[in-house]
């Protein structure tokens, strides 16, 4: 079995189980309002721009097939990518896991004798905890994406894969800027234009002085060795063109085979993510161009558990994700709990299937259950990842892993076994249903059962009444009507 993403580094594991973290998040009224407003707005935008395309479903199918094809031949495509990058003057590094990737970056930066770098937003670098590793090595990593800047200055963690600071409102952002941005005007208001202006001032100095930039990549083209970053603000464009040295960290699943294939993904991604027909800045670069842009380019290919995901035939479609976040934006669970409750930088529906597979299921066992299986995510996924099916698969993987690792079955496993035993025989089942009428001892006052302070019953009845069992079960009624067996 290929190794999972190692523990003790990076941000793929929460400290609390999802239900516990969610309970706290749900009570945060500011978070609820922020999320509700943001996700409702973006859902509407996405729906509108998707409806404009008559061939949206064909595009989705093409996206899916391209990804499935790529994953099936990943080693070959990776080799092709490396050769193409090297042929154009780039250097390729292979990082088995977060620790290796961080070490490679730190060494490269130290080699340049600088103590600060600028960063383009990259979920992969959040995943491996790169900023923390750089800080430990005495290197300051300045986030240049506005939302990542807010998260960084707020000493926080991202809560959404596209809009990491979605849990912050403008009043909070103003406070963070005033507190943490050394050079900011004390009369700063919380008008969005003013906040953006403050960030631009702060960042411009960094763009013009930084010698080393670190980026992620939305896509890597095997055929040509080209990397692509799809962004809204222009900070990517600044970081990818101004500094002398560019280091790109890319998860190995971001590969696409040919230049031509971008046609599909560049239509799928902006509409699915920000609900735009096209995003403002798409930057593509191949190796090094003498006299233009970075003169040194390093591509770090990151595994960190991805091969483990690939090894699971039922779970590997999680690697087809192009990080659009459409699933987060339609998820009724994510909308109410936010991303932090998932404990991983990959939250929401995709996070619930990707994070446990990267870390090994038992390190994130509560995530596959953080879903009502409503299926809204599958409907919007641009590469048609069947998230509900993978969630059900991971739930089975968890119970099987748990059973293998424990001599005594869990209480739940025992209860399920007992229920299965009862349900596999019609007479036992009919008797169980009939016995359920004992519940009629309750609910006599109102005709429904109110609060029942016993384990399990309590979880239901804390918030909802429960139907009072009927006088006569359906089976007994049918048998009486039709003179059959009970």
């Amino acid at each position: 079995m290929p190794p999972p993403a190692p523990d003790g580094v990076g941000n793929l594991r929460g400290v609390e189980k999802f239900p516990v973290a969610a309970r706290r998040a749900l009570a945060d009224t500011q978070l609820r309002r922020n999320l509700g407003k943001a996700t409702t707005t973006i859902r509407a935008k996405r729906a509108q721009v998707v409806a404009e395309l008559p061939d949206w479903e064909q595009l989705r199918e093409a996206g899916r097939q391209l990804k499935v094809h790529t994953m099936a031949q990943l080693p070959d495509y990776l080799a092709q990518l490396e050769a193409a990058v090297v042929a154009r003057g780039g250097v390729v590094h292979w990082a088995r896991d977060a620790n290796e990737a961080n070490a490679i970056v730190v060494d490269l930066v130290r080699d340049k004798a600088v103590d600060e770098v600028v960063k383009v937003k990259s979920m992969a670098t959040q995943e491996i905890g790169l900023n923390e590793a750089l800080e430990a090595a005495g290197i300051a990593a300045w986030e240049t994406d506005l939302a990542e800047l807010i998260v960084q200055l707020g000493h926080d963690k991202p809560s959404h894969i596209l809009v990491p600071a979605i849990h912050r409102n403008r009043a909070e952002i103003r406070e963070i800027f005033l507190r943490e941005m050394g050079d900011v005007d004390p009369a700063l208001t919380d008008e969005p234009a003013a906040l953006a202006g403050a960030a631009r001032q702060h960042l411009r100095r960094k763009f013009l002085s930084a010698k080393v930039a670190i980026s992620g990549a939305n896509f890597g083209i095997a055929e040509t060795g080209t990397l692509a970053v799809v962004e809204s603000e222009g900070n990517g464009r600044m970081c990818l063109t101004l500094p002398d040295t560019l280091i790109t960290i890319m998860g190995i699943e971001k590969l696409v085979p040919r230049w031509q294939d971008l046609e599909v993904f560049l239509q799928l991604l902006p509409r699915s993510s920000t609900g735009e027909r096209m995003n403002p800045y798409t930057s593509m670069w191949t190796g090094v161009t003498p006299g233009d842009g970075p003169q040194e380019f390093h591509l770090i290919l990151l595994d960190n558990g991805r091969t483990a995901v690939l090894a699971d035939a039922e779970g590997r479609d999680a690697l087809n994700c192009i990080r659009c976040s459409a699933c987060l934006n339609v998820c009724p669970v994510y909308e109410r709990t936010g991303g932090h409750a998932y404990g991983s930088v990959y939250p929401g529906p995709i996070g619930a299937i990707l994070s446990p597979q990267l870390t090994g299921i038992e390190d994130n066992a509560s995530l596959p259950y953080a879903s009502s299986l409503c299926g809204a995510c599958y409907d919007v996924c641009p590469t048609k990842i069947n998230i509900p099916e993978i969630l059900v698969h991971l739930r089975a993987k968890h119970t099987e892993t748990y059973a293998n690792e424990h001599r005594v079955p869990s209480a739940e496993a025992s209860a399920m076994a007992a229920a299965g035993w009862v349900m596999s025989n019609p007479k036992r089942w009919a008797l169980a249903l009939r016995t359920g009428r004992l519940g009629r001892l309750l609910g006599r006052k109102r005709g429904v059962i109110g609060e029942v302070p016993l384990p399990l019953a309590k979880q239901w009845t804390d918030a909802r009444d429960f139907t009072r069992p009927p006088q006569q079960t359906f089976r007994d009624w049918w048998a009486a009507e039709h003179g059959g067996e009970r």
């Binding site: 309970r23 259950y369 879903s371 809204a376 599958y378 019609p426």
Partner: protein, 234 residues
């Protein structure tokens, strides 16, 4: 738990002239086990379903989630744990298993089942019906044809009610938060009744409405379709 739903289904189909049997040898579709991660335990349930229902022309269930499980999960369980023969059996039965509104509109070609229900009603499309079975507007067609029924559209109808099986217990707080919004939308319609094709969602939404004494309640689609002037359900 909800014998009235079964009885109502029989009344509707009987009224339309069909010969309906309830084979007592049936038990459960196994969805709870599969969705909670206990796939192997579902095998005997899948085998029983395929066996008990094999001799019938059509199997009708007043439950989008059960039919969803039969159509989308039974074959998976059979392939994983059962024999090749079981897979064939399961696929044959799944092909003739229908959710009630699908059966009425698609198979029987009927939208007016001769019902009378003089109340203000709003319809909640359950996630399995909506996304797994894609029943679309069949329930709406059926409700529109009910005499004296005032149908009001439910805002944010496609949002999950928060039941999700064991999710309602394991993630009770999130489930309740989702329920709160579903109830708010139901109450905003001014409807007396919220209906749907799944008793599970109705139990959850209805339990919430009852707890807060909201003055609205839930009723299964089958019960509305079964109601007539002579035989009112309320």
């Amino acid at each position: 738990m909800f014998p009235e739903v079964g009885k109502a289904t029989l009344r509707v189909l009987g009224r339309l002239g069909h010969d309906v049997e309830f084979p007592a040898a049936q038990t459960c579709c196994g969805q709870m086990h599969v969705n909670t991660g206990y796939q192997k335990q579902a095998l005997p349930l899948v085998e029983r379903f395929a066996d008990v229902f094999a001799p019938y022309d059509a199997i009708v269930a007043p439950s989008g989630s059960c039919v969803g499980s039969v159509r989308h999960q039974h074959a998976m369980i059979a392939k994983r744990f059962g024999s090749a023969g079981l897979v064939d059996q399961v696929e044959a039965v799944a092909a003739k298993t229908y959710e009630l509104s699908e059966f009425l509109v698609d198979v029987l070609g009927i939208s007016d089942v001769g019902a009378y229900f003089p109340h203000r009603v709003t319809y909640h499309p359950t996630c399995h019906s909506l996304r797994m079975l894609r029943v679309g507007d069949k329930p709406i067609k059926l409700l529109r044809a009910v005499d004296a029924l005032e149908l009001v559209e439910l805002p944010a109808a496609d949002q999950c009610c928060g039941f999700g099986g064991t999710f309602a217990i394991k993630n009770v707080d999130t489930s309740t938060a989702m329920l709160a919004d579903k109830m708010r939308n139901v109450l905003d319609t001014g409807a007396e009744i919220c209906t749907a094709g799944d008793s599970s969602c109705l139990m959850h939404i209805g339990g919430g409405l009852s707890r807060i004494r909201a003055g609205a309640k839930t009723l299964h689609l089958a019960q509305i379709l079964a109601a007539t002037r002579q035989d009112p359900v309320l």
